[in-house]
Amino acid sequence: METIRKLIRKQSLEKLYNNLSTTRKVYAPVIASDKQVEYKYNPAFTDVTFDHIRSTLSVKNVVFPKVENLFYYTNKQTESTITDIDLNKIQEVVLWGAHPCDNAAFDTLRSIFCWDITDEFFAKRLEKLVVIGLSCHLSDEYCFCTSVGLAPNSTKGSDILLSRLKNGDYHADILTEKGNAIVSASPELFESVTNEEAEITSVKQKFNHEQVTAKLSGAFENPFWVANSLRCIGCGACTYVCPTCACFDIQDEARGKEGKRYRSWDSCGFGLFTLHTSGHNPRNVQSQRWRQRIMHKFSYMPERNNSLGCVGCGRCSSGCPVDMNIAEQLEALQNI
């Protein structure tokens, strides 16, 4: 549908939030007691922050939870009864205030989870997700959305995109039918736009991702990987905070005759990630795993799924204890 731009005043924004928050689950950013930004379900509007650059963890939790039950089972002598999770019970979630980088990541995750087979769990959660995004009026040295084809006000992945105006009111760009439905439920809160300009930060482009992808296709044996990954300690933090990382582990947990199968987040940076039952491990050195991370995101995914595995949010770099600054590495790769 055609994008419609409306104005929503600060007080109306609060009313909209409260309307949504009383009728459904709203996942919104707040500042926790240790000053980190985290997303919580249905916080009070006064606790919601509009000034965050990035939350510590990404918001992929709403479509790809860190622990997700797949089915329950009961064993009786020689047969097992399986109880599937009723996906129809998954409730609608309104994601409030996530930035364009995080919202673009949903598309990337979809290109993985719905690539050749549809992952029903992911698909259902995405179907029930409504995204009210928030453009960025602040950024820092870790941001690099403009290097991966996005911008501080990209609309990709959002159903409504809010952009702050100087006077504290917001533009609301209504982008999809889901967004339209939200507006139609409270049309009195949305007015016609004036000529105000939105406050959008600028993010300097650090590299050209198309050039990186082109260079990577011949770079598998390049000494770059070893030289630049010696300091990586394989901690997995980058994977877990990343909005587009989707690797998971599947485990069964049982007590007596009953149990469940679940999946939980995993990381290709872990030493045992590719350990085969035979004992062979094709990626048993950290440089191979670092290479995998970059190539998967910037070479294999563009080639196979037609999408880029990175949205330039900068969480991996700001969370890394040994300063494996991904933007710096990609800049260097552009020139190998």
Partner: protein
């Protein structure tokens, strides 16, 4: 730090070592680990307030060991980590050259392990001052308050194991959590499982932790897990009058015993 650079250059030029592990400044100004193999690149070595990471974690990494004999820039925590690794047979003293750095940032002359031991023994080995205050405050809480505090903190844990990876003493090639016969600690992240993980980690480090604080620093969600291991460091000293990382001999408290260890709660 010219004396450090000169020494590193000398060691590489003489081929006494094949790699110098130290710190360099990244483009954003943060210090990061450096692995210098070319004497000409020794110029990039720095040492200042930004250099806090415990580099000893690289001494057990196969890809670093395979480069050859190693020299390592070592502040007190790193020296103690090296001592611990030697005492646990993970490192041979002859295979590394220690480029000791004093508390006030000067290059020390650490000729061999005996000298390093002497330096360590003369130093204050209790928990660093900046953590003592927080530990004292936590210790003042009631048991119920403590339980709630740790539940709140550990509910944030996402089981990324960054704490384990950052610790030089966690060098097991197959960690106990990576075994699923039995699955001792659940793989998934929930508050209860997270508590079990952190308790296990703290106990496996009891008497081995040298209070570098890397575990807490590496945590992406800001859990002060270093306080768990540091509390035990305090208690190890309290009961057994030893600090970890002071001797080449295996002496970590849970691997040894004295017949007359004192306690007051066994009836």
């Amino acid at each position: 730090m010219t004396s450090l650079i000169a020494r590193a250059k000398e060691l590489l030029e003489n081929k006494t070592v094949q790699v110098v592990i130290g710190y360099e400044a990244g483009p954003t100004g943060l210090a990061r680990p450096a692995f210098i193999t070319d004497p000409a690149k020794a110029e990039s070595l720095i040492y200042d307030d930004r250099c806090v990471q415990n580099l000893a974690v690289y001494l057990t990494k196969r890809e670093v060991k395979n480069i050859g004999k190693m020299a390592i820039v070592a502040t007190l925590p790193v020296m103690r980590s090296i001592m611990m690794l030697i005492s646990e047979q993970q490192l041979f003293a002859d295979n590394i050259v220690v480029l000791g750095i004093s508390d006030d940032g000067k290059l020390l002359d650490i000729a061999d392990n005996k000298v390093m031991q002497g330096y360590i023994e003369k130093s204050d080995l209790s928990n660093p001052a900046k953590y003592k205050g927080l530990l004292a405050e936590l210790n003042k809480l009631s048991p119920e308050e403590k339980f709630l505090y740790w539940q709140k903190e550990l509910s944030k844990c996402i089981k990324c194991y960054a704490c384990r990876q950052a610790c030089p003493m966690c060098y097991c090639t197959r960690c106990t959590v990576e075994v699923n016969q039995p699955q001792w600690i659940p793989v998934k992240a929930n508050t209860h499982g997270n508590m079990e993980w952190h308790i296990l980690r703290a106990m496996h480090l009891a008497g081995r932790c040298i209070s570098c604080g890397e575990c807490g620093r590496a945590c992406p969600v800001g859990i002060p897990c270093h306080l768990l291991t540091m509390q035990l460091t305090d208690q190890v000293y309290n009961y057994f009058k030893v600090y970890a990382g002071t001797s080449e001999k295996m002496s970590s408290v849970l691997s040894t015993y004295e017949p007359n260890d004192k306690e007051s709660f066994i009836i």
